[in-house]
Amino acid sequence: MTMTHDAPKAGSQVGRSVPRLEGRDKVTGRAEYTHTMRLPGMLTCKLFRSTVAHGRIKSIDTSEAKKVPGVFAVVTIDDVMKVIPDPYYGPAFHDQPILAHEKVRFVGEPVAAVLAMDPHVAEEAAQLIVAEYEELPAVYDEVDALTTKTYVHDVLKPAGTFADLKHLKDARDTNTALDYRLRKGDVDKAFAQAAHVFEHEFKTQKVLHLPFEPHASIADYKDTGVTVYTASQGPSFVRTEIARLLGWPENKVRIKVPYLGSGYGAKLYIKLEALVVALSMIARRPVKLALTFEELFYQITKHPSTFRIKSGIDKDGKIIARKCEVFWNGGAYADIGPRVTQKSGLTASGPYEIDNVWIDSYALYTNVTPAGALRGFGVPQLVWAYESHSDMIARALKLDPVEFRRKNLLREGRPHATNTIIKDAAVEKVMDHVLDRMNWSKPFDKSTGVVKRGRGFGISIKAVITPTTSVAIVNVSGDGSVTLYCGTIDMGQGSDTAMAQMVGEVLNVPTETVRVVPRDTDVTPYDMGTLGSRSLFHMGHAVQRAAADARDKLKALAREVGEPEGSNIPVRDLFVKKYGMQAGNVIGTGIFKPDYIPPAPGTGLSENVTAFWMVSGAGAEVEVDTETGHVKITKLVNVVDVGKAINPRIVETQISGAALMQLGFTMFEKMHIDGGQVTNASLADYKIPGFHDVPTVMDNSHVDTNQANGPFGAKGVGEVATFCVSPAIANAIDDAVGVRLTELPLNPESVYRAIRAKAGKPLEDE
């Protein structure tokens, strides 16, 4: 067999489907991951975890564990506090102890750590630890959490990072970790004037990210500095937080991140890093902690949610008022939940122009595994509700679901609920493209047999997390070769390739020749994190600016060495002319932080709340087996607005990956929790979609648009195609069999029970 490659070409790098730069290393098993990394003398950590959901720790007996031959140390919070006196961490609140301190707050919380060279020894010893708890009442439901007298934390400790959390400092007797509100117009008056008022409640279940590479971190602590190798989506934040915990300057903390076996938001902010640093300080040796798949169920999940949505409609089908109450089940530690609550909460009223909007969005502590960001930062939970609600209203008023939406859609130049003017958000264009790909205007055979057919769609909008900062460096070496230093983590989304394309475009070199340096905070500059589909826009700008800076400096160098304007001299010869030999560098730098106006306290209004808008739509055709409730998805259409696609092939795979992930969350994925205990915490009993679950037809596309303020007209795509999958399918099920499901997942039993209930023959509960 012979292999041929097209020779890399200069020019027109952006917009080309460049194969992923790291793809060959990954498929040949040569790419580096934290999970498989070893350091000389390294100890392995295994955790002993809480078996109760809420309790005071009476005692932890580690004596039997310490006796196991080969055990190096058994560590509890008392040992940790000798090296880190204030052992609490977190991005929004400093609420999470490195190991359980005085209390445990969820089943699975790490209580003690065993260190040994041999992981099997550590695991065996961890099973010999015994803890006694005084059990406390626990709260699991997000709505209960708002009013119960059971408090997960005695006192709230905002991290100080976010201005809108400051009022919660030292708050007591509450489970509310953020209460975001938006007030626009006068909803009560508008409801009174409305011809029709609809109120519905929607729920989403607890699901998790399940990255193919579970969390893994290694710390190598020395008094002169600490190096952490970690599977993280945000090394800059990890460095800041470790430095804070140690009372050190950031330059003594080095965070190295190789490739990630995916992340989806699970590896954001700080996860295992504080624990491995503490353990390495205690052991004075490198320490590694790598979770098993089963342990992922106790690390971080998506937010379960309850969304009460109420809309007032005038006689012409115009939405004149909308009231949204969203309850986010944040679990035992806030993680980034307050950001989800606010940054997603502000779009809870959907892609519609509504004059009177009232939003309350609550981040709530409960006694379950903490919740964070998962491919959509909360927006899929919101769209599930508001796009189901849209169809329910249209159906009740006998309005065409397309025309009802069209009458209310947010259009270019019009104010969003926050008062930010909509710009470069192709809402209607995306909806029309979905309908076109669905052949919506053509007759649709719904069938009259046991298996009924139906179709549905949804449309959505999201604000990017704003404001955030990215920094990039482009280095042109003496031979003219180009190296990019940027902190964006390539976790499978192809960011290295896209960033290299932008560098290649500016410097007129082939993408394939651009070296992207692995993430290392000693080397790569600051980035807020690889999250919320922000990187292509924010880091893309920084990269574009750094490359342009390098280009300008090369031009200046050419002038300096006497080259005429427009000279086409090879870059290497420029350096030779300057330094007399192949030597020197040209360093370009770029920094990007978008303009932003914070939401006004009390009203949540802002005229510039987001750097850009994301838009997506989905359409589904389904077949529902009316005898069993099984739903087969025969067609799934996904359409997004990405501005200009930097790499069309990668855009397509991001759309299909996001849609299939959400399909699992929509159809069957669910963490079953009984008394705080996850009863299906393994991949044997918690299933994710496989190839046989892929819809018969998957139709993925992006509309042709331009993000005027984006790098090369582009914006983010990673999470966007998750937003509308759930309501599109629920709307299609309703179209097929006339039942409305308001709680995810839409599994066969739920559908069957709804069919039976509609027929007046409800199935008994158990």
Binding site: H120, T679, N680, K687, G690, H692, P748, R753, L763, E764
Partner: protein
């Protein structure tokens, strides 16, 4: 997983002698697809495993004999899937393999392991039970024959003594009988079944002479539902008869609730799938 002793006998007779009926930390291991998961989860911590991989090759083979199949207990599911003899004499097994777990599991999991494990969610037990399979079981004291329908005693429980191993399975030829197995999942397509229904029908057109109907996954163990078989025997299939068979099966089976469905839902699934399985068998058993 903690260290353990591994014995690798080369004869089945030696293997059964290595078993210790009084020590639950001594266990045999065949393909290991189930046992390894239990060990990784810490549910089972062996002191000693008796690997059966090295025993006589005749226990890994498939032979057509006496109008049926003799299948060694160490035969992999993959070998079963690809065997021309199996396809000829018991095509139901060949068809079942296509949706049984995945290729990685089928490559190492064994027939004996799939039966001895006693997991009600497995696909092979209901199929072999419906086909009327018998097992030869050996111990240091000799060997005995057990009909598969008498083999399972409860959830992960079988009639095997702690010093007994399955040596081989004897599967009668399917012959002219019509058969179907339907695996019903409620999670991902490759999930464990919420319900398995196997039917083997001796029939003439729509007229059923006799039927064997087995229910699994929704129940505590793979179970012959004889009341449903009795409803079908000697009758001509129509909607009413199939509804009666479904009602009888639902009445007889012992259901369990789990993450794959509640008991009332599984009852309804069984009603529907008894009907579909019989119809599919009569239509030629095509999946």
């Amino acid at each position: 997983m903690t260290p353990f002793e591994l014995a690798e006998p080369t004869k089945l007779a030696d293997a059964v002698k290595l078993l210790d009926p009084d020590d639950p930390t001594v266990r045999p291991i065949a393909g290991g697809t189930a046992l390894m998961l239990m060990m990784k989860a810490g549910v089972f911590r062996p002191a000693k495993l008796i690997s059966l991989r090295g025993i006589e090759s005749k226990y890994s083979g498939i032979a057509a004999s006496g109008g049926g199949l003799r299948v060694g207990a160490m035969t992999t599911l993959n070998a079963l899937e690809r065997s021309a003899d199996v396809k000829k004499l018991a095509p139901l097994i060949t068809r079942t393999m296509l949706t049984l777990s995945n290729v990685r599991v089928r490559n190492v999991a064994t027939v004996g392991g799939a039966l001895a494990h006693g997991d009600p969610h497995m696909d092979l037990p209901p199929v072999l039970m419906a086909l009327g399979a018998k097992l030869t079981v050996i111990s240091p004291n000799g060997e005995r024959s057990v009909a598969l329908e008498d083999f399972f005693t409860g959830y992960y429980e079988t009639v095997l003594e702690k010093n007994e191993l399955i040596a081989e399975a004897h599967i009668p030829a399917q012959g002219a009988k019509r058969a179907a197995y339907m695996k019903v999942t409620t999670g991902s397509a490759d999930d464990w079944p919420a319900l398995g229904v196997a039917v083997v029908l001796d029939s003439d057109g729509k007229a059923i002479k006799s039927a064997r109907v087995v229910v699994s996954a929704a129940t505590t163990k793979a179970t012959r539902v004889k009341s449903a078989e009795a409803v079908l025997a000697g009758k001509t299939v129509d909607d009413k008869l199939l509804a009666q068979a479904g009602d009888a099966a639902v009445e007889e089976a012992e259901f369990i609730a789990d993450v794959r469905g509640s008991v009332p839902y599984k009852r309804e699934l069984l009603r529907v799938y008894i009907k579909r399985a019989v119809r599919q068998a009569l239509d030629g058993g095509a999946q």
